[in-house]
């Protein structure tokens, strides 16, 4: 070994000899130490009832108990010596002295790997999404079939699909009630046991708004000027299918708002409220789009949550 090598400062592992048949450690043991097999063979086992069940064997050069020292996990199984075994025991002090002289980049690799492993393990039990309100709203929108929904069934079904706890789901439902997106009424299962959705589309618009917020985009219905809004309200009064040439649309809108200009026509085209018909030069009103815009505008406080 190079005498100038900082590695010389590290505390060496402790040698240990284990006679054949003796236990090295027991399942659940919390001692933070790992072992390097220098000679001999070890057997990993667990106990099923009174019976010992062999899991695997390890020979010279194998490392045992790495996670107990790096992740502080109790030993997942018991290990005993099959033959006389010579071990090098790396305890916390020994490992710490080694990590002290480890280059920072290598230390960061170790830390990153351990942290990513922990995250991967923990996250198998939690939902993949971050916002249950967004997920539940889309679920309810798609699940709603025109009839009241039984709260117990919905909570169970949604929890099964997403692994969100029943408590969190009930919390999210209450939040939707406060936003006037859904109502709870009495049913066979007691008070507030049925979900009524008067305007399912509002739930869908709410999800679109949340997605815009999350991705830092502006939600189009809330970006309209008062003039544009008044034009939309006027368009909604006409229930017939409307197809007009651009100039006629302008004259039409100016009936409601004399200040309406070609800018409104262009804006409504960009938003998909007006679109080019098969007839060249003519624009058709996309009524569903218009209704969605107006629904969002009329329920701005509920969607934004400012009514809470």
């Amino acid at each position: 070994m190079n005498p100038g090598n900082p590695i010389n400062k590290f505390i060496p592992p402790t040698p240990r000899c284990v006679p054949a048949g003796s236990l090295v450690f027991k399942q659940g043991d919390e001692a933070r130490e790992m072992f390097l097999i220098e000679e001999g063979e070890l057997l990993a086992f667990d106990n099923k009832g009174n019976e010992e069940r062999e899991l695997f064997r390890m020979g010279k050069g194998s490392l045992v108990g790495v996670t107990s020292i790096f992740e502080h996990e109790p030993k997942p199984h018991s290990v005993k010596a099959l033959t006389e075994v010579k071990l090098s025991v790396v305890d916390e002090a020994c490992m710490a002295s080694l990590l002290k002289v480890t280059p920072i980049w290598l230390l960061t690799i170790i830390k990153t790997i351990i942290s990513r492993t922990r995250v991967a393990k923990q996250h198998t039990q939690v939902p993949l999404f971050s916002d249950p309100l967004e997920s539940l709203s889309r679920f309810l929108f798609l699940r709603y079939g025109g009839k009241p929904l039984e709260m117990v069934e919905i909570v169970r079904e949604y929890s099964w699909q997403t692994r969100v706890s029943e408590e969190s789901i009930r919390g999210a439902l209450r939040s939707l009630v406060r936003r006037n997106m859904i109502n709870l009424v009495a049913g066979e299962n007691g008070p507030d046991s049925r979900i009524i959705i008067e305007q399912p589309m509002l739930l869908d618009l709410f999800v679109n708004y949340l997605i815009c917020e999350k991705t830092k985009r502006k939600y189009p219905p809330f970006q309209l000027s008062p003039r544009e809004k008044s034009c939309l309200e006027f368009l909604n009064l006409e229930k017939a299918v409307l197809t007009k040439e651009g100039n006629d649309w302008l004259k039409y809108l100016q009936v409601a708002n004399p200040e309406a200009s070609v800018a409104e026509i262009i804006k409504f085209q960009e938003l998909g409220i007006l679109y080019r018909d098969r007839d060249p030069g003519r624009l058709k009103l996309q009524r569903i789009k218009l209704e969605h815009f107006l629904l969002a505008i009329h329920n701005e406080a509920s969607i934004k949550g400012s009514c809470l």
């Binding site: 190079n2 790495v66 080694l98 999404f129």
Partner: protein, 315 residues
Amino acid sequence: MILPAKKYLCLEGNPQDKLYIVKKGLLQAQKREGAKSFIVGEAGPGTLIGEMSLLENLPCKFTYKAVEETELVVVDQQSLKQTLNRFPTWFEPILHFLAQRLRQAETYKSRTDKIRALPSLLFLMCRETEMGGKTTFPIETLIENLRIINGLGYNDTFHLVRALCSLNMAKIIPGEGVHLQVFNPKVVRLLYDTLLARAVDKKRPKTLLSGENQMILSAFVDSAKAKGFNYHDSTGVSSTDLFASYKRLLPGVKFISTSMTALGEEGYLYTYPAYLSSMKTEDIQLFYADIDKVMDILELNRIYPLLDKKLPESF
């Protein structure tokens, strides 16, 4: 190493065996989802890029593009080896052990995420086919809704859909707008309801039939296809024909007429005269059923066991 702004450090999926440490500057991490690329994060000073590539030769997880001129420290295989040579021999195996554990944990998580998203995917397929009234629909809507309801990403959803296709439930139709064709929407609904009933009631749902009952229904379908007749708006077969089909499908196995109790109670298959437990097999003159319903329930019972066996293998 200096990487000029707008230049790529590495491309997702490309082989790599080096580690990069960002010293100065900023990189953008991008991930491909279908034909599109999405920004999934940023890598500023102190960030490591490619630790698993250095230790396990894994390909680049993301595409990294320099947002501004970026200075990086490169650790290649030789530098790693030189460093590890100064350490005890048991140190290197620890690094590989930890890296392998991470790979296993992430593979397990990815597989579990997909399997757990299956109920939501079936729910969305039911919704598309039942509310939309079409058996073929754009896959983009399905992917987007699954992302919102379950959180599963684009690529993983595509894997899951492909796995369902491998069970012969649906087919991906390529083209400008990729579509999914569901072969039998009723079976998707049956599967969804069966999985939900199993999860909620914690017992075997009644839609899952015993092997014996499946064979009786298979014999019914087999004989009905060849010699079925209309019987009170359903399909009837003579007991002689059904027993002949049963014998052909299960040579040497005796027809157990008591199975008819459960099949009748569940509304899958009836007999004339109406089956009573005191009846002998030879008393049955004919069998009748809604053959579409029988075929759907048989299809469900074909697919169901494959979910546990074949689905995890597909990932």
